[in-house]
Amino acid sequence: MEKSIRKWFALFALPGLICFLIAFLVPFVWGLVLSFCSFTTITDAHFIGLGNYVRAFTVDGYFTQSFLFTLLFTVISVVTINLAAFTFALLLTRNVPGTNAFRTIIFMPNLIGGIVLGWIWNVIINGVLAAFGMNIMSDPKFGFWGLVVLMNWQNAGYMMVIYIAAIQNIPQDELEAAAIDGADGWTTLTRITIPSVMPSITICLFLTLTNGFKLYDQNLALTAGQPNHGTEMLAMNIFNTFYSRQGFEGVGQAKAVIFTIAVALIALLQLRFTRDREETA
């Protein structure tokens, strides 16, 4: 068995490897190369060195501004989404009537695409603000909180499902033992439930964190970065740099490389941090 797996491994891995090569590795390496080049079309580039990386920060302040905006948005949405999802999961694992119906309803927004969600919330928020003679373009903070609400609505259900699965896996005897020892609800939650679902918290934090950084379509449909780049997130800033500014293709590419490295670093730090918690728990 072992022997034949080793023998056939190469053949069966080949299609996957080819796909990985074509769809990921080659574009990634080519993208890295392009970030050091000046080009209009990607097959016709010439090397210019680090100029693109310098221009990413010096031409205008929008890249740094959108970086800070994205960071703030991600921190707030990671906290609120996970709090909401965990609360729903706790409430919906108590054998109350209608549990399945509520789970389905809360999960449902996740099945709708980001662009559609963006338009829906655009209409809702504009409808409310119209009563005050304003709309979502009037002030960047409307767009910011609109995005937070939108992401909560879309992602809380998904994270809830992960938390529910974890909570249901907590051994009943531990909970019973706690009850017999006289632990109240809060003690049970902090001493048994949360430590037992630490692996799920790791994965949910990772998912919400990276989702927050990569956000594009919801951003586009809700505000498109208006007013005056005030709600422009990183991914949109990169897209706009690449496609809307002539001669800035390389700068967009350089921003994308910086973006990839930053997100990978932050995600790795988060994984290490929460993994440590898992082990001590």
Partner: protein, 452 residues
Amino acid sequence: MRKTSCIALAVLLVLALPLAAGGSKESAAGEVYFLNFKPEIAEVYTSEVEPAFEEATGIPLKVVTAASNQYEPTLRSEITKSEPPVIFQVNGPVGLANWKSYAAPLEDSAIYSMLSDPSMALSEDGHVYAIPYTVEGYGIIYNDAIMRAYFALPGKAVDISSAEEIRDFATLKAVVEDMTAHKDELGIKGVFASTSMAPGSDWRWQTHLFNMPLWAEFRDKSGDSSTALAAAFAATEFDFAYSDDFRNLWDLYLDNSVSQKGLLGGKNDADSMAEFALGQCAMVQNGNWGASQILGVPGNTVADSDIRFLPLYMGMEGESAQGICVGTENYLCINRNASAEAQANALQFLEWLFSSPEGKDLVTNRLGFITPFNTFSEDEQPTDPLARQVTEWMADASVKSVPWTFAGIPSEQWKADFGSALLQYINSSITWEDAVKAAQDSWAREAELAGR
């Protein structure tokens, strides 16, 4: 034995995959691939122009249309393919600068010799690279039925009695403000359609309305209206000398609008055109390309004969002698990297489209272009009311059309910056002086980046 044949089969399968994917789409040699810019007439190209040309010449023609606002990204990816577009479009000198290394010289082509005014073509380093194919005009479109109703009011506050007598900003302002005072009697929600500021919908202001102060400034600096574009295209600095005039008309639009200021950030240009078509307002700033957005709207209440143009009066000196803004941002280029046969066929296609009887019929009646070619006679012009108005204004000897100078704006980024500043001015988050400064600063920065 079985094992070996299994391996052989599997390997074959993997190897055949890309072949199968690539083999299904074989295109004919010498095919003319035209990447079209105008989505509103995409259907006409595929269902009428393609078969007509193939029947007339036997040359296969493929017209692909880029989605609205996506022409540059689409061109960028299409042109790197092994079967690139043979005919593509640039929006003026700034666009040509970006695509010059892909454009073939056209000075010996038939299509160039057909231009009524050869200086309209874009040249660089002694070669002609891009040919304009349609002339467009814009101004304030008004609904004369509502204007007649206003001038018939007994309590009107102005002395004039028809919209044609509006020949300067002061009169326009007096009429508009009095109309706003009487809007309930006139059955309108506002005089002007919503000043659309939704993302992607602010081009009517940061490009088209802005053309007026831009043209005037560089007319003054270069000494003549005809050299304004060249001067703007070379300018490293922009003073916005006519910013007060721009603000005159801009504030008039905002204060006499169908919508409250705070709601404008959510309006797009289709909303404005619908408001006009439905008779909710009397005026909207737009060009003859908007005809289908008025005539084609279900519930359209505006009669063809009531659709008129008014120039963009904003208080400049001598503006009574000024016509509507006429020009083009549609230039065709031939891809020099396409095969020689395809390039020759592409030139033949353009010649056929703009000079053969059946081609000209399609251009006039189906594509609706007012062309700059001498192969079209007086009666071979489009018949929609706005196109007719454009030709009338161009023919009127008492006024001089304002040329499109906005092709000299240094970059798309400048337009985005100025559009944002206008939106912030509407939202009262910045003052007018800040908006003017944003326009000046952005121009200096973008001009430097463009290598001026």
